[in-house]
């Protein structure tokens, strides 16, 4: 697996869909590819947010820490982006991510990511568009819930 395949994976991520390919290459090049063993944590709930991950290969579970123990709320597969909200909003991890099987992910360092955003407005716009879409979806869901 090389940089090119990683760029292909990044293109599948909605947030990066509109980003210029050369920038995605830079993003991939400045990121690290890391392997997690099954059961190894990407990070734990409450940790400081230092990076976002794109799953290249494998699966990971999203766990929430509750008084009754960890409960699984979602499962992530290939090309899923995780941890990006934490590095954008500068808040601690809101959930634990644990590899469900041997998993390879691209680790995007927070500092590098923010510097890229600061440098390339087009990239920031793509991110904003994606965030706006999410907000819109959430609003729609709220409307749907309140009207039901």
């Amino acid at each position: 697996m090389t940089l090119e395949t990683e760029v292909q994976s990044l293109r599948q991520v909605p947030m990066f869909r509109d980003v210029d390919p050369a920038r995605l290459k830079l993003l991939a090049f400045t990121s690290e590819r890391v392997q997690f063993a099954g059961g190894q944590r990407f990070f734990s709930q409450g940790d400081p947010s230092d990076a976002a991950y794109v799953i290249l290969d494998g699966r990971a579970n999203v766990l929430l820490n509750t008084p009754g123990g960890d409960i699984q709320v979602a499962e992530l597969g290939s090309n899923a982006l995780v941890g990006e909200m934490g590095i954008l909003s500068d808040t601690p991890r809101s959930a634990t991510i644990m590899a469900a099987e041997p998993t390879t992910a691209l680790r995007i360092d927070k500092r590098v990511f923010l510097e890229l955003l600061a440098q390339f407005p087009q990239m920031s716009l793509a991110i904003m568009r994606e965030l706006a879409k999410r907000l819109e979806r959430t609003n729609a869901q709220l409307v749907a819930q309140s009207s039901s």
Partner: protein, 907 residues
């Protein structure tokens, strides 16, 4: 130092100056002879005066003196009647005698010059040392205004010309003066009138020129001060570079320095104008005399009152005259110049800026422990603005005790701490410890028995160990074994120049005094203290990053390979094998750079490091031999293409560039040009282009950069090339690379690499932390921790300790005080860099360590003061002492008075 430079020179080099002067005088007769010979050659041999009476032969080397009439003589005293020779024989004979004198004069000159140089160099050494000794004596008040860089410039640069002059100070006037007088006398003897002309022109030269040069001296003094200030200013900017960056003061600083340089230039310009005018005038005057000689001397010769031989000799003698004269005038100029410089130097080291002479090596008299009643009476401390900080203060403490000096927000506590530590003598009143006056204690005693740790931990460049034992190096133990002859020479020179005779290679640390047998035990003490102040882990990490010296760390070196195998076994058995990719002589390491894979070792010399490798002829030769040069260049092209593509649009100097790119921001355009050139005509790259491209893949790590440039086949060829590189380097006996050996240690690689003997995987999450844990476990199991930490003691702290964090600096400073085991330790703000929890722990540690000795500590408030035996507070200029009621009596020194006093109160 003496006020007058000449007195200083004379006091310290009388003997040598006289010897050289004597030799100069001894050389004069030979000089005179060599002046007289041309006349003889022309008159006697060429014009044939000796054969005037038709004699076929004439005496050669006839030595005889005519007794002057007034000595009752009239007769001739003949020592040697000489050889009878023909005309050609006489010419040849006289010419060879001339040659002989030329050689003798040359030999004299050589000896005199060497002797002068050595003399000057010795005096320079003495002067520099004297000045440095005075640097050590600067009073605290003077130090507030003295700039370190200016002082350094003075000792290094400004005294240099003085040193050069010293050799000439007495000898030049003697030598040149006598030479000039000889030449003048010679001219006088030939013809009085010509002599008088020469003399009057000289008189004019000697009166006018120095007058004109006075202005030059004034300018010279200005220039000296201006350039000294420039040096000081540059050092200031450098020291305060952070403020310059923070406040973006580049423009102002640039203009400031530019202005100073302009000033220097203006002064220089004035100096040049003046200097060369004086020079031109001087040259003119010097050429005036030959004019008279030709005109008047020629006239005499035509009239027949002066023979041609005499005229030739006079002109020849006069040609000898201007150089000594010119040099004499130069000497005079230099004398004034150097005297000015010397005055400037002595002003910088004026008596009132210096403290008393240091008697650092005083006899061990009165070196008793500093215990007993500490009594201070009638203490009066004035602040720097004349305000009274303490007036009529008094206190008494029975030492040893732990004493808290509680600050009232003012400076009183700190000042008292400095007074107790003997850092300051600016107070009036009496402080006695037992029978002894604190201010009268010799430095030998205070240096050993009192330690002071202030806010600013001052570290010297060197290793952590050097800094820790700094306080233990009070005197050498004389256990140095050095070559007898070398030692005698070194000591003789030191004695001649007033320098110290101790050698720094001697053993200066007295291990026995610290209860240690040798260096190793001292290390153990140091490590124990560092661990106690919480720096143990840091030292361990420094050790892992450090390099081992197989000579010094023998036991560690022996067991390192064993530890390496144990670590490998641990990785295998714990399923961590994929965390570290080991160095294997026959396999490519994907976690290491291409250069590392090619060298399979660690570069020692710079020509094998980084990109220089691409220019190294031996390495290039090996690459060509292995036939992979073109492949590497092809890789370089691919890297250059990718880098220019993906870093496009990032401004130069962006941190991402620095951190990730193979290509520096300033090189991008060059590489783009290379790529364009190649695009135009395939395959014909210039030599420099090839070298540049070759340098790129050297830093490429497949696992990290993931450009997919290396396939299995290429990796195999690189491993093959590895053998060739080694072969070529070993054949050339190049010591540039130390190769890896699975069964041996590589002294050039950090200890960590020697343990791992491989590279931690970039791809496995959290690999570094897990590997570090495993390493720590193995090091602990094999009981190597102390050895590793010992390597850590060699960590270099950098200029002023800047390679350490503030906390580390403070820790080193503290341990430096602790290892001395002082009777009295004074702490004033040394714990400031630590957070509150750490500083409380450290305070408790100090209290525990010093339960047998005295501890004085400045505290910002009395929150922690309860832990101390005695609290000293400051209120309205008074000193108030409290004893902690619950203070447990000290086992070593139970206070004899305490029970009685209590009894008294009860009664």
């Amino acid at each position: 130092m003496e006020k007058s430079l000449f007195r200083y020179i004379w006091t310290h080099s009388k003997r040598d100056q006289m010897i050289v002067c004597a030799v100069v005088l001894a050389s004069l007769p030979f000089y005179f002879m060599s002046l007289d010979l041309p006349r003889q050659i022309v008159n006697q041999a060429i014009q044939g005066e000796a054969f005037r009476d038709g004699n076929p032969t004439a005496p050669f080397l006839n030595l005889s003196f005519d007794w002057p009439g007034w000595l009752g003589g009239g007769g001739t005293w003949e020592i040697f009647e000489g050889f009878q020779v023909s005309r050609v024989g006489l010419l040849m004979g006289l010419s060879f005698v001339f040659l002989f004198f030329v050689i003798v004069n040359g030999a004299f000159k050589y000896w005199i010059n060497v002797a002068k140089g050595v003399l000057g160099e010795r005096m320079l050494r003495r002067m520099r040392f004297d000045l440095f000794a005075m640097v050590l004596r600067f009073t605290p008040e003077a130090l507030r205004t003295v700039k370190s860089s200016e002082t350094a410039t003075i000792i290094k640069d400004e005294v240099e010309p003085i040193g050069g002059f010293i050799g000439d100070a007495f000898i030049t006037p003697v030598f040149l003066g006598t030479q000039a007088i000889t030449a003048l006398v010679f001219i006088m003897v030939q013809n009085v009138w010509l002599g008088m002309i020469a003399l009057s022109v000289i008189a004019v030269q000697f009166t006018i020129i120095p007058r004109l040069r006075r202005e030059l001296l004034r300018l010279g003094k200005q220039r000296q001060l201006a350039s000294r200030q420039l040096a000081g200013r540059i050092a200031e900017v450098l020291d305060g570079i952070e403020v310059v960056h923070v406040h973006n003061a580049y423009g102002w600083e640039r203009a400031e320095i530019g202005h100073r340089l302009f000033n220097l230039f203006s002064i220089r310009l004035k100096i040049y104008n003046r200097k060369f005018f004086v020079k031109a005038l001087n040259n003119f005057l010097a050429q005036l005399t030959p004019f008279f000689f030709y005109a008047i001397g020629g006239y005499f010769a035509l009239r027949g009152t002066l023979d041609i031989g005499q005229l030739v000799a006079v002109i020849a003698a006069y040609r000898e005259l201007p150089p000594p004269l010119k040099e004499l005038i130069d000497w005079d100029q230099q004398r004034l110049d150097v005297q000015v410089k010397y005055d400037q130097v002595t002003q910088h080291f004026a008596e009132d800026r210096l403290g008393p002479m240091l008697e650092a090596r005083e006899a061990a008299e009165a070196d008793q422990p500093l215990i007993g009643p500490l009594v201070a009476e009638d203490i009066r401390i004035a602040g720097s603005h004349g305000d009274l900080i303490v007036e009529g203060g008094a206190f008494a403490v029975e030492l040893p005790a732990s004493v808290a000096l509680i600050s009232n927000g003012g400076a009183a506590a700190s000042i008292l701490a400095r007074i107790l530590a003997r850092r300051s003598l600016e107070f009036s009143g009496r402080i006695r410890i037992g029978e002894r006056d604190l201010t009268q204690l010799p430095i030998a005693v205070t240096g050993r028995r009192i330690a002071y740790a202030g806010v600013d931990p001052i570290l010297f460049p060197g290793s952590i160990r050097d800094n820790l034992v700094y306080g233990l190096r009070s005197k050498p133990l004389g256990r140095l074994k050095e070559d007898r002859q070398e030692m005698d020479r070194r000591i003789a020179e030191a004695l001649r120049t007033g320098n110290p005779i101790e050698s720094i290679s001697d053993q200066w640390v007295d291990y026995e005094r610290l209860g240690a047998k040798d260096e190793n035990e001292l290390d153990r003490i140091l490590l124990d203290l560092l661990d106690k102040v919480g720096m143990g882990d840091t030292i361990y990490l420094f050790g892992l990053a450090g390099r081992i010296d197989p000579e010094r760390h023998t036991s560690l070196a022996e067991r390192l390979v064993e530890a390496r195998h144990r670590l490998r076994d641990t990785f295998q058995s714990n399923g961590m094998a994929d965390l570290v990719e080991p160095f294997d002589p026959v396999r490519y390491n994907t976690q290491a750079t291409v250069a590392e894979n090619l060298l399979f070792g660690v570069p020692i010399s710079d020509e094998f490091k980084g990109r220089n490798l691409a220019e190294n002829a031996q390495f290039r030769g090996a690459m060509d031999k292995a036939g992979i040069t073109d492949d590497l260049i092809h890789m370089g092209l691919q890297i250059a293409e990718t880098m220019t593509e993906i870093f496009e649009g990032l401004p130069p100097g962006h941190s991402l560039f620095e951190q990730f790119s193979f290509i520096g921001a300033d090189e991008v355009t060059e590489f783009e040009a290379i790529l364009r050139r190649r695009g135009r005509d395939e395959g014909s790259l210039k030599r420099e282009d090839r070298t540049r491209l070759l340098s790129l893949p050297l830093a490429y790590i497949e696992a990290r950069h993931r450009l997919g440039l290396l396939d299995e086949a290429m990796m195999g060829r690189i491993v093959e090339a590895r053998g060739l590189v080694r072969e070529v380097l070993e054949k050339a006996e190049s010591a540039g690379v130390e190769f890896y050996d699975p069964e041996g240690i590589c002294a050039a690689a950090p200890l960590r690499d020697n343990l791992l003997f491989g590279r931690v995987s970039y791809q496995v999450a959290n690999a570094r932390a897990r590997v570090a844990e495993a390493v720590a476990a193995v090091v602990r199991d094999l009981d190597l921790q102390e050895e590793v930490e010992r390597v850590g003691l060699e960590y270099q702290v950098g200029t002023a300790g800047r390679l350490l964090s503030p906390q580390e600096r403070a820790s080193v400073n503290l341990v430096r005080c602790l290892v001395k085991r002082p009777d009295i330790l004074v702490i004033d703000g040394a714990l400031a860099p630590f957070d509150e929890a750490r500083s409380q722990q450290l305070m408790q540690l100090l209290l525990d360590l010093f339960d047998q000795q005295s501890l004085f500590m400045v505290l910002p408030n009395d929150r922690q003061a309860g832990a101390f035996d005695v609290q000293i507070r400051f209120r309205d200029g008074q000193i108030i002492t409290n004893k902690t009621a619950a203070s447990a009596p000290r086992p070593s020194s139970p206070e004899p008075n305490a029970p009685q006093r209590i009894a008294g109160e009860v009664a």
